[in-house]
């Protein structure tokens, strides 16, 4: 986030910040103005804001995301398990935290709801190439969430984070039971 060490930002920054608040209450007006050193922060804010607008307009089913109340660099997302997968009927909360050089670097994405999945570890870390070395600055929150949603139904069992889940994947009936047993929806 913007650092505290410089207050001599100009009015332009100030005006741009106000636009950000068109959405939900965001950090911009509470935080100190971005310093000249982090002018890039300005474009990150702008891009996140435009992603938020697009997400609200798109009405994608099964995925949603919204910034946390006081920090537009931290979002909470939800995805629901796709139909005809063992995850059907379950819903998962995720956290996305965006670096200062987003979208050149990917956000850190974690499951907040426990997810019994070959590519998700017990801490909610996700092993997904587009969130690591295959990241592209053209990806956005929407494509991330859609990718994770399809990862649920199509795990990569050859290099699992959760070996137990990977081993069980072959038996979809048992796997479904396990998902139901371990599923703890967040209120």
């Amino acid at each position: 986030m913007a650092t505290m060490n410089n207050q001599d930002s100009n009015n332009n920054n100030n005006n741009n910040n106000r636009q950000v608040t068109a959405g939900p209450p965001m950090n911009a007006s509470k935080q100190p103005l971005p310093t000249p050193k982090t002018v890039d922060t300005q474009s990150v804010l702008k891009r996140l804001q435009s992603e938020l607008m697009a997400l609200m307009m798109s009405g994608d089913s099964g995925i949603s995301a919204f910034p946390e109340e006081d920090n537009i660099f931290c979002w909470k997302g939800t995805i629901s398990g796709s139909k005809d997968t063992v995850f059907e009927g379950t819903e998962y909360k995720l956290s996305l935290s965006f670096p200062n050089d987003y979208p050149f670097k990917p956000p850190k994405v974690k499951f907040e709801t426990g997810c019994f999945h070959p590519n998700v570890d017990v801490f909610g870390n996700i092993c997904l190439d587009i969130l690591q070395d295959k990241w592209s600055s053209a990806y956005d929150v929407r494509t991330i969430l859609i990718s994770i949603q399809s990862l649920l139904g199509e795990p990569n069992t050859s290099s699992p984070l959760n070996t137990q889940a990977a081993a069980l994947w072959g038996n979809q009936e048992e796997y479904r039971k396990m998902v139901e047993k371990l599923y703890k929806p967040v209120a």
């Binding site: 106000r18 636009q19 608040t21 068109a22 209450p25 965001m26 007006s29 509470k30 000249p36 050193k37 002018v39 890039d40 474009s43 702008k46 891009r47 804001q49 435009s50 992603e51 607008m53 697009a54 609200m56 307009m57 050089d101 979208p103 050149f104 670097k105 592209s136 600055s137 053209a138 956005d140």
Partner: protein, 234 residues
């Protein structure tokens, strides 16, 4: 401002308008948004795969953050010398961000690669090219159209009709492709379907593309006329 949630009912109807202010996604401008910052492209640049970016955004992606030379959208190989800048009408804007990235010097946007100026569509072109053998073919079409519009010029159009027989011999020559057609020309086949020994092949067709409102039947007409005159003059 952190608007209170009590305002929500009154704010909701404003959403479409505020989104159009801040996010041109829904309008035509969506086609001109940078694929990296999602904003209207500044110092716009297009890859060979057709994807649009701000030059500073693409530069940062290629040189600072990515260790591959891939298009962020489609993963196509990006060769910097093949990038095409977009010059719209108006000011030659410089992206303010390009100056203010700490520790990063973003070079000027690559310039457009300008092909040669197109030959003027008048008789001079024919006169000049007429002395240079192969170049004749480029000027041939325009000379014909001039003769169509003005009978006094028809004499100029007559000469090519004699040369035309010679031109046939060139069509199989390697020089034909290199010298006469800098751009990929349409396949010669349709040209030959005009029939007779007056078929001209690709260069003829290309020339006609420059003439708007010049119907496909017209070349036949001219060719017919020229052919008649050629007979008379002989």
């Amino acid at each position: 401002m952190p608007a209170g949630f009590g305002e929500v009912p009154s704010r909701s109807p404003q959403r479409p308008s505020c989104s159009s202010d801040n996010n041109p996604n829904n309008g035509d401008a969506g086609n001109f948004e940078c694929n990296i910052c999602f904003d209207l492209a500044q110092d716009p640049i297009v890859t060979l795969c057709g994807h649009l970016f701000c030059w500073p955004c693409l530069y940062k992606w290629l040189h600072i953050h990515s260790h591959s030379q891939e298009c962020p959208v489609c993963k196509a190989l990006i060769e910097e010398e093949k990038l095409v800048p977009l010059y719209g009408r108006g000011k030659n804007s410089t992206d303010p961000r390009s100056k203010s990235v700490p520790g990063v010097e973003i070079p000027n946007r690559p310039a457009g690669q300008r092909p040669e100026t197109a030959p003027p569509p008048d008789r001079n072109a024919f006169a000049q090219h007429g002395q240079h053998g192969f170049g004749l073919m480029g000027g041939f079409g325009p000379a014909m159209t001039a003769s169509f519009g003005n009978f006094t010029l028809s004499f100029g159009g007559l000469i090519p009709s004699f040369f035309n027989v010679q031109m046939h011999a060139f069509t199989g020559h390697p020089m034909y492709g290199n010298g006469a057609a800098p751009a990929p020309a349409p396949a010669p086949a349709p040209g030959f379907s005009y029939g007779g020994h007056h078929a001209h092949g690709a260069p003829q067709q290309r020339a006609h593309q420059h003439e708007t409102g010049f119907s496909a039947a017209s070349p036949l007409l001219i060719i017919g006329l020229l052919f008649l005159w050629a007979l008379i003059w002989n």
